[in-house]
Symmetry: C2
Subunit: 287 residues, 2 copies
């Protein structure tokens, strides 16, 4: 067994489901010697003291940051850069800082600027999560066999990028290196716009009175709208950061639906059938 | 044990997944003495001869219809009325005929007319199914704890309605009696329009080049578009029968998305947040 003292110290800031699962997974995989956690509230600290993967929990950021080799900022997208700015005061110059945010372009820029070269920053976006949120649902398997974006820029230290990539891969993730803006363009299409479609469909059905028919609802609509149950706060952050990329995708989705409606109204069934065939082919390509 | 000879004879016409599961479930629950099946193709007959729930399989409709007490026409929506017209020549006057079609207004009218009083007809729509189709995926538990519409009209024999209701309930279904047109209005909202949204979203993403990003796709988009993988033929039938009810729902969905896009473009985040909150509330009401 490797001497824990020779392994890196991992510090997690503002853990929710993602941060706690990260701590549990890193400890389980023997990737780190110590896991230290900073949280804002005393209640969270008490909860952390009962987690067997957590070696130290503190509301004093300096205390858990100063000897950290790896720092994972797990806060919501709109808070990450502020915390990075704070930790810059105490971070070791050899440390590597990353995050788990669902947007990257603006966020990475803000973080690089907030850190001001005090240590290395590399953006991450592990595509993992759950309807459940919060520390208590921590799952050491949350990241296994899921995709993860790592988003270096021209300013990134190649060794730091390698460190972050290796860490996610050791948790079983499939890592893809993509520029921050390209990341945002991709997730606008395959995640953010679809989220809005699901949410808007659910809201429209509710407004149209479908609430009286919930006992008839089958697995189809349940699946189609499942993500609409996600955290409103988290999604508002994402939309705020990435709306420039999301709006054009949403415009295409509306255009597609408008054409489909027109075809259906006018009895142009060949065109309707083509949409169903194209949609089926795409969905089957995801299996 | 009840003497099988005293139990009703069930005849299933044109079984796929729904018909075969019905036969298996009825036999398992001891609801019927015999299960007889008509199919169009010799290959299907050979497959049926290996199913332990099937007592007789024939391509001769007269042979399996003439002594049937209950007749379930399990064909696609656009074929049901034609088969009902055919079976009218041999059916016992005391028999009760039903179907499993996903649309009811036009279909029930066609079936009542095609049967011409030769026996009783009552429309059914069990909200059960699977991505898998075909005889070989028959599942005696397919109907358990799922909703089922029974759609009587002014012409329906109350005793026949009771027979059909009892039969579905004995399979574990939650039965709701609803007029055929009301059924179509409900399912346009909670099933047909959502299906088109999922299919159109998938088709639009494919056209926008998202096919190159499938390795990044997470559970969110997989769930949102899952139903887009359904049978194109089955859905074209449904759309053909129910487009008058579907188009206005689709118009509302487009309207909702258009507003959401405008709010997002103009930075009206309170309005965006309201949509997310309304969508979340509706989705949570389905749990």
């Amino acid at each position: 067994m490797t001497d824990p003292a020779s392994l890196p110290v991992l510090t997690i800031l503002a853990p929710g489901l993602l941060g706690a699962s990260l701590g549990a997974a890193a400890k389980a995989a023997g990737l780190v010697g110590r896991v230290q956690v900073w949280a804002r509230r005393a209640e969270t600290i008490r909860e952390l003291e009962c987690c067997n993967w957590c070696d130290e929990a503190s509301m004093d950021m300096a205390q858990v940051v100063k000897d950290a080799d790896l720092i994972w900022v797990c806060a919501p997208v709109n808070v990450v850069a502020r915390l990075v700015g704070q930790l810059a005061a105490w971070v070791k110059p050899t440390a590597v800082v990353t995050d788990v945010g669902s947007t990257k372009g603006r966020l990475v820029q803000q973080c690089e600027s907030a850190l001001g070269g005090a240590a290395a920053f590399v953006g991450s976006h592990p595509m993992a999560g759950s309807q459940k949120s919060g520390l208590s649902h921590a799952d050491a398997q949350l990241y296994a066999d899921r995709p993860c974006f790592v988003t270096p820029t021209d300013c990134s230290d190649p060794a730091a990028v390698e460190t972050i990539r290796h860490f996610w891969e050791a948790m079983g993730m499939r890592v893809y290196e993509v520029a921050p803006d390209e990341h945002d363009r991709i997730v606008a299409s395959i995640s953010h716009a679809p989220h809005l479609v699901a949410a808007s469909l659910a809201a429209t059905l509710a407004e149209a009175g479908a609430g009286q028919w919930t006992h008839f609802v089958g697995t189809g609509l349940r699946d189609t709208t499942r993500i609409a149950a996600g955290s409103v706060e988290m999604w508002m952050d994402i939309l705020l950061h990435n709306r420039e990329q999301i709006v054009p995708v949403l415009a295409k989705v509306i255009d597609g639906l408008e054409h489909l409606k027109t075809h259906l109204e006018h009895g142009q069934f060949n065109a309707v059938e083509q949409v169903l065939r194209d949609g089926k082919r795409f969905r089957e390509s995801l299996e």
